[in-house]
Symmetry: C3
Subunit: 346 residues, 3 copies
């Protein structure tokens, strides 16, 4: 699967990535693999100590290891302070780059008032609306829809079938995966009770979405535009698939969220947070920097101390679960019976 | 961001929306903003009493307030019974309307047996299938796919990249956001055990989807068509992003659901319900009118009384959470120890 | 809604599907319906004993029943060992088959290095990239994007607006619903701490996605490609809408998942598992064959015994819920007070 025909010598890898080589600098590496799967012409890595035992059996031609693991492998090694980071950089050499040539595919529909840099690539069957701008080195993949007044910054990539609805500004080197929708209307409603049958009135969503440099946005993730101000992702925010970011949310730099997280409106999340899969964060909260939220936790109040937070109950076989879960309804009564006040939490 | 160049006098706003003006009727308003952000040519509003303190410092030229707050602001005010509803109506004046002209874009692919009203707009790279009908004033945005036997009612808008698979009927003034998929097959399977290796047989999904007038359907939301009868949304149902509505669900008028809700098959939800974000509702249930379900709650049985319902556990730091959560497995034993019967719920 | 004009005699249905007819073999059946809704020219079925009472009132011309229910209906019956399976097969006769003719629609964009079988159908405004192959009888519906190095096996159908990003191989008779994204980058990140402001490095995702024969993949479901090895669905896996399958997950044959399930990276799920709606499964776990997970359960450890598993708390009115939920924070203290050790789980 790696790019056909690329071969790099161990010596060149050491020099290029600032690593220490113990072994033959002339050894040619043509790809990467797991410790279990890599052959003699491939590079592998040991980052998680739990796989240390696999060093004995690996057939990898070259392994990236920490200093303390270097002697555990009889073959050639590259010594790195952070083998996973070093591996990530090296592996990118072997990644097939689909490489769309600059220019506008004849099947694309570009509005006369859109500005496409000559160094940008607009793929087949994409559309770009009035007042939008696609910068140099940016790629708008097949089937993307760019609406009005959007900016795709230099070197950014919309892989395919991405929608930027309106007033969405992407910084540089932003990567957006298929099916993502940025800039749809936030969910703003007011209940009009002036008639016999009260009904919803739509609150206009006049803001936009601003995404900083080096962000990544997963497949089928949605980021709504703000009601009055913008919805904001600072730089280097990393969102997995099927995440929902409501209007006027602000996400701090370097924060990462796993798949299926939902963040309600106007919540502000700090920098270097890590939000576990399918977690929910209620609206109008403040989450400080360096907060970790575990999977499927519901955050219902602001968090002012860095650290890890959870909610939920443990996994059980359903028979045990039913027996215990029914008692959850008695919890207050049980506590009273043993004389605890509802205010005693420890 | 509001529409360029629109200016309306305070007197005209008062008259048009039936509000009482205290201030200069000739003052020109050119946009809307938050109390903190609005300048002298913009209108703001005070709906939530917690922002009352901001009235002192706002620079807004005109503020929509309740009668009881009118004296708290030294500047000009519009007095409304429901300032948020009044604001929503006024703000729509300043919303840029992308305004697609009627007609079929030359890049759209329309089946010979589709009927497009001359007053409808079919955007670039959209497709409309056989037996489908697009009514006057309806907009089918760029990249939409309308399959067979669908109806898009008068004044409805499919923003972009919406899919109506088959037998989907939208009423009037329905708004559907990008990535939504209406009318995909419901998830119907029968396990065929007649062979050594039992396998799934697909149950044909012969129904459709019917969506009433004035509904809104969020980005990447999915609504499957029914197995034999239709999946139904009555009028003025409001669905946020990434909601899943399974086959044969029936949602009553004026019900609103926040992002990421999942409703399983054949469940019937009443009118004026409000379902919190990422809540789940099991299949084959009946939920009566005016039920509120809090975020991430799982509804496992029918609800016959209006009111608010919840499940889940509170947020804690993970160390405290682990210590307490492990005890959930002992809950039945603890209750027995203190002499409570599993039937005693209060 | 069923296919116009198809009529089949009761005798032919009995013979074709190996069922026993009690009634008139010449009776013509022109559609299917529920017991409550079917008329005299339609077939219905009784699978769930809870609907047995409806037999008395049904107007259906023919009903598929179990032997033990055959005498409960005065009209004509087809006797089947599994009425739901028999119904599913019969109903497919009445399903309108949109039937795209083979060939490439003139508006589709097919790369010169893609191979399209003359018996395949490529719909309007679809794209097929370099190195991809579409086999005989396969349908690529309107607006689909097939990237590089993909295979769509014989008889498979991508309904509309499906994206296969790169290195995705579908077996035969696979059905993929609109908005699904297969083969997007897995979510692999390494935190580079070598600079003052640590930042994320993307880990290249060099694997693919392999989907076995007879799988079904729901609307807006996402399946990422693997980091080094492939993400794999064995044959006859059935995924509902809005499911997220992370990189390197392996799903065993005949496993079915309801809507909105999320499976984190590298988890291995067995055969004949049934995962309830919106359940979450953490990464790097092993789930054995024939495991049932109830709706909205979070699976945090490997499961080695077949059976049913759950987590969560019961639904309550919010007032009761609040009173009890606050006590969850005292659970460990309460247990200590009554003298239980945290290790005593039963």
């Amino acid at each position: 699967m790696p790019r056909q025909g690329v071969q790099v010598s161990a010596g060149e890898l050491a020099e290029r990535f600032g690593l220490v080589l113990r072994g033959d600098p002339a050894r040619l590496i043509g790809g990467v693999g797991t410790l279990a799967g890599a052959g003699p012409d491939a590079l592998s890595f040991l980052a998680n100590p739990k796989y240390r035992g696999q060093l004995a059996a690996t057939r990898a031609g070259l392994v990236v290891v920490r200093e303390r693991d270097a002697d555990a492998y009889a073959g050639d090694v590259l010594v790195a302070r952070d083998p996973y980071v070093a591996y990530a950089r090296i592996a990118s050499l072997f990644e097939p780059a689909p490489g769309q040539a600059p220019g506008i595919h004849p099947s694309a529909v570009v509005h006369a008032q859109a500005r496409i840099d000559p160094g940008a690539s607009i793929g087949p069957l994409a559309t770009v609306g009035a007042g939008s701008r696609i910068d140099a080195g940016a790629t708008v993949g097949p089937g993307c829809v760019i609406g009005e007044d959007c900016v795709v910054g230099a070197g950014s990539t919309l892989v395919a079938r991405v929608t930027l609805v309106r007033r969405v500004t992407l910084g540089q080197r932003v990567l957006v995966h298929p099916g993502a929708v940025l800039g749809a209307d936030g969910f703003g409603l007011a209940l009009d009770r002036s008639q016999d049958e009260p009904h919803w009135i739509k609150v206009p969503q006049l803001g936009g979405v601003r995404v900083g440099d080096d962000c990544e946005i997963g497949a089928n993730t949605t980021i709504d535009r703000g009601a009055l101000e913008d919805t904001v992702l600072e730089h280097d925010v990393r969102l997995d698939n099927q995440i929902q970011i409501a209007h006027n949310v602000h996400v701090g730099a370097h924060t990462a969220m796993a798949g299926c997280v939902a963040v309600a409106g106007s919540t502000r999340i700090g920098r270097y947070c890590m939000i576990g899969g399918a977690a929910g964060i209620a609206g109008h909260l403040e989450i400080c920097d360096r907060v970790v939220v575990t999977a499927m936790t519901l955050v219902t109040h602001s968090i002012r101390e860095p650290g890890e937070y959870s909610s939920g109950t443990p996994l059980m076989d359903s028979r045990s679960w039913r027996r215990n879960a029914v008692r959850f309804k008695q919890l207050d009564a049980l506590a009273r019976r043993v004389g605890a006040s509802p205010k005693d939490t420890e």
